[in-house]
């Protein structure tokens, strides 16, 4: 048997769901254990950061990095793991695209702080104490990381070799990636490991390509037709701009897509693509009526850039 691969898994600004998705490959995890020496995996193993610092450069064969980068610690560890790893993979939507935490780029840092530490209804903080990078306490000094102004994806910090989308990635995609890694048959650098076409192509709903929407509705307002394309029923669905590969999992549960897999191959900005897709189903040529129809779509920015704000053309709001 060939030598075991050295594997590291790390979470930065992450919910932990990506780590759980690795546990979710179930029996296959034993495979991983057989083929790999795990060198760092905070959710499951007792190694500390100081252990990683001692590893030789490039001694980790593959590092799966999940979570966005928002603070000095995450940035430091991203750079450290880049140095120690031959292959660095942005694992999951947060690392790849900024993800849901990337929506924080709709707000300024101070607005967030004020809301969380002063204004929140349950907070009692008349002294306006905020967390500080350095705090002197009776026994000495305490340090916590410095928080940056905005959320970034991993690629906006260091060079990344591969991207695995999904919030979290599906078992199938993780297995595809593991097969590639274990067999040594790696795709070209920069590959996004997902489907080739957009989500609509793998979505089981019936599409007619007719323009027929006179009114947009929010998912809670109607009982919709389970057989038909949601967008054609006036429910905003991000499928047209999203790369396939998830098996249309939300849509199968009668819930529209929000684009966690990121942009389709020919799409550079999900929001821009969705503007065209939404426009194409509107059934009207009268400017006044068009205005009225689109006024029913709430929060396009939050819907279109749910997972991709930090890597979108505009990156953040003003």
């Amino acid at each position: 048997m060939s030598a075991k691969l050295n594997l590291a898994i790390y979470w930065a600004g992450s919910c932990g769901g990506c780590d759980v998705s690795i546990l979710d490959i179930n029996e296959r995890i034993l495979d991983v254990a057989q083929n790999c020496d795990i060198k760092f995996w905070p959710i499951a193993m007792d190694f500390k950061l100081s252990d990683v610092e001692k590893y030789a450069d490039n001694s980790i064969d593959v590092c799966l990095f999940n979570g966005c980068v928002r603070n000095s610690e995450q940035e430091h560890i991203a750079k450290l793991l880049r140095k120690k790893s031959k292959i660095l993979v942005a694992f999951g939507s947060c690392a790849y695209l900024g993800g849901i935490p990337g929506m924080a780029n709709f707000n300024k840092k101070q607005e967030i702080l004020d809301r969380v530490y002063v204004e929140a209804q349950s907070v009692e903080n008349s002294e306006k104490i905020f967390p500080q990078p350095h705090t002197k306490v009776a026994e000495g000094e305490l340090e916590i990381p410095v928080f940056h102004d905005y959320v970034k994806s991993l690629k906006q910090i260091v060079d990344v070799d591969y991207f695995i989308p999904g919030c979290p990635p599906t078992t199938e995609i993780i297995n595809t990636a593991l097969n590639a890694i274990f067999s040594g048959k790696l795709p070209p650098k920069g590959t996004v490991i997902a489907g080739k076409k957009n989500l609509c192509e793998e979505c089981p709903k019936e599409k007619t390509d007719e323009k027929k929407v006179k009114k947009f509705v929010r998912p809670y307002q109607v009982i919709f037709d389970e057989k038909k394309c949601l967008l054609e029923q006036g429910i905003i669905c991000i499928g047209p701009a999203t790369i396939g590969g998830c098996g249309a999992r939300c849509i199968s549960a009668n819930i529209p897509c929000r684009g966690c897999f990121g942009p389709a191959l020919d799409v550079s900005d999900i929001g821009a693509k969705m503007l065209s897709a939404v426009a194409s189903v509107i059934d009207s040529n009268d400017p006044v009526e068009i205005e009225k129809i689109i006024s029913e779509i709430p929060d396009m920015a939050g819907m279109f850039y749910r997972f991709t704000l930090p890597v979108s053309l505009l990156r953040r709001s003003k």
């Binding site: 905005y150 970034k152 550079s268 929001g271 693509k273 503007l275 194409s280 009207s284 920015a301 990156r315």
Partner: protein
């Protein structure tokens, strides 16, 4: 606002009507501000919203799209398609903090050189009043 701020306005002009209209304005020496960077497109319907976002992201202070009048599009429905996209673009821009007045869709025929000049004057003044957008710098924070 800074007195000497000269807005940069990117204008997408359909080659069949609006571009010719702009040309006419030029040849008939109708005065209009030199702030516009014209980009010739086959049809207003070919302007992907991506172009508009990219123009702003790369430093434009305003974006103008001009196409043939409804009914006159060389490709029949190109301008109708744009007519649906434009208010959606405005709405998204507004949600991202970009003022509505910075983006505009207008119909300009091949013979409306004066109208083209008028439209350019208006948007230039409106954007001048709003001041520079500086999205390049705004973007810098999340490079």
């Amino acid at each position: 606002m800074s007195e000497n701020f000269e807005p940069r306005i990117v204008a997408f002009l359909c080659r069949w009507c609006s571009y010719t209209g702009a040309d006419l304005a030029g040849t008939s020496r109708i005065k209009y501000p030199a702030n516009v960077v014209p980009i010739k497109v086959m049809c207003s319907g070919r302007v992907d919203p991506t172009f508009v976002l990219k123009a702003f992201a790369d430093g434009a202070d305003g974006v103008l799209i001009c196409g043939c009048h409804p009914g006159d599009c060389h490709y029949d429905i190109g301008n109708y398609n744009m007519q649906k996209r434009a208010p959606l673009i405005s709405k998204l821009l507004k949600e991202m903090g970009i003022e509505e007045k910075r983006f505009r869709l207008e119909w300009v025929s091949a013979s409306e050189g004066d109208r083209f000049a008028e439209v350019v004057k208006e948007i230039t003044e409106e954007v001048r009043n709003l001041g520079p957008l500086n999205w390049k710098e705004i973007k810098e924070a999340v490079k």
